[in-house]
């Protein structure tokens, strides 16, 4: 049986933080090893969800752009929203998903700034939808060991 990656990461992190680090001198080296151990526990948490949360987030932004495009009067922005809404993932590799996420979040920033400048209920609803997605995004990315 091949050990699962999360199990390995968790065990190696524990070895580093609780067995190796306390024996190391100087203290700076012990601190550095502890930091590496903490990062491995975060990797363990990210390992399983990494692709799923990116796919979910990119899909959420595409859906948001699809709905927003209809109310955007700026032809250039509308065209970019429509193109992004109909885009698809190049692959499920993390680097490809991250590249798409960067493009989509750049457009989200532009749409958000545009919405803030518009009068009317439709613009306020769009702002609310953007904030809802940003809130959901922080929850997807949250680490269990984070201070907040």
């Amino acid at each position: 049986m091949k050990p699962d990656v999360p199990v390995v990461l968790e065990n190696v992190a524990a070895k580093l933080m609780f067995e190796l680090a306390p024996q190391l001198r100087p203290p700076f080296l012990a601190g550095t090893i502890t930091v590496v151990g903490v990062m491995m526990t975060m990797l363990r948490e990210e390992w399983d969800r990494a692709a799923a949360r990116r796919v979910e987030e990119n899909a959420a932004m595409r859906a948001l752009f699809r709905e927003a495009a209809a109310q955007v009067g700026d032809a250039g922005l509308r065209a970019r929203l429509e193109a992004a809404a109909s885009s698809a993932e190049a692959s499920l590799r993390i680097a490809d998903l991250d590249a798409a996420n960067d493009e989509l979040r750049r457009l989200l920033i532009e749409l958000h700034a545009w919405a803030e400048e518009q009068p009317g209920d439709a613009a306020r609803r769009l702002e609310t939808a953007i904030w809802r997605e940003l809130l959901a995004s922080t929850e997807r990315r949250r680490f269990s060991i984070a201070p907040f």
Binding site: P26, D102, R142, P147
Partner: protein, 342 residues
């Protein structure tokens, strides 16, 4: 002596005309913030008055750092507050010439035997002294806030912003850091910056010394609840006193993962102690502006540290960890300050 010990001893010998047989011993690197390399060492030398032995700290600029700061600011702040109601180590020498130790550095007194880690507060004996530590921590910040920068000599060595320009100067500075260093788009921090510009705060109540990183983890304390030194002044500047208060109560420093700011007491209690000690008022709306700003500044620091690490200028893993560990928490803190996260 190691090479660095020998070079440091040569420097100190050049600075201490009356000293002979100058020796640097036991030089070892310690964690002292990611913006400077921090070492502790023992200095021994013979003087006309006899043998001298001192425990000292060397703070040296690294090739890359968490924040690009002027080491002179930090040294000047230590010099200004040494011997006042704000406890700080004694600063000794500031050296900007890289020929001595490859990079600029300064040397100061080491205070041994105290705790600095925020996580230690969650365990006895420190967990039994949280109220006393909070009283001291926020009282000392009050002392910093009410101090006169001119009387301390800091208006001579730090830029002096107009009272109504403090916020814009700080916001422009940290927005520029984000513009230059972000590796990925940051929709929450960009929205926060737009909000800050749409809702400018009133002018500062006074021109104050701003520590710039006043938080649990940046002071030395003991198990009786006393604070012995305020450290890490590398982001010190002159500005609005509410900046430090808001930074210190930021959610990302809630080490106990509950409502206690800085892992010590609740927010209202911290503000009350600061108001009493400083004689200043923390107007809720003004403070809210600085709380949102704190998350922009925090995010700028984590973004900057991530870029330093990614580009290989400084590969101390703590720079990578700070981004991994705190960027999401900082976004959540911004959402809470903006009223989106309830």
């Amino acid at each position: 002596m190691s090479d660095l010990e020998e070079r440091l001893a040569s420097y100190i010998a050049a600075r201490l005309a009356e000293a002979s047989e100058v020796r640097v011993e036991g030089l070892e690197r310690i964690h002292g913030g990611a913006s400077r390399e921090t070492y502790r060492f023992r200095l021994r030398y013979a003087s006309p008055a006899g043998e001298v032995e001192r425990n000292l700290i060397l703070r040296r600029d690294p090739p890359g750092s968490l924040i690009e700061t002027e080491r002179a600011n930090e040294f000047n702040a230590y010099r200004a507050f040494h011997g006042t109601a704000v406890p700080v180590p004694e600063p000794l020498w500031l050296e900007e010439d890289a020929r001595w130790l490859d990079y600029p550095f300064f040397v100061m007194q080491e205070l041994r035997g105290f705790q600095s880690q925020a996580q230690a507060l969650m365990m006895p004996p420190y967990s039994e002294r949280l109220e006393q530590l909070a009283e001291r921590k926020w009282t000392i910040l009050g002392e910093i806030s009410k101090a006169d920068p001119q009387a301390l000599g800091l208006t001579e060595v730090m830029p002096v912003p107009a009272l109504d320009a403090c916020w814009a100067r700080e916001l422009a500075h940290w927005e520029k850091v984000i513009d230059e260093d972000e590796l990925h788009p940051q929709p929450i921090v960009r929205a926060a910056i737009r909000w800050l510009r749409r809702h400018p705060p009133p002018p500062a109540q006074k021109l104050a010394v701003v520590h710039g990183d006043y938080r649990t983890g940046n002071f030395l304390y003991d198990d009786q609840g006393e604070v012995h030194a305020i450290l890490d002044w590398e982001m010190a500047h002159l500005g609005d006193p509410l900046e430090d208060l808001a930074w210190g109560i930021n959610r990302v420093w809630c080490w106990a993962r509950d409502e206690r700011v800085g892992g010590l007491v609740d927010k209202a209690r911290a503000i009350a102690i600061w108001e009493r000690a400083s004689g200043l008022r923390a107007d809720p709306e003004s403070l809210r502006w600085w709380e949102v700003f704190s998350s922009v500044k925090g995010q700028a620091i984590w973004i900057s540290s991530g870029k330093e690490y990614q580009q290989g200028r400084n590969q101390d893993p703590v720079l990578a960890l700070s981004g991994w560990w705190l960027m999401n928490a900082q976004d959540r803190a911004a959402l809470e300050s903006l009223g989106v996260l309830r």
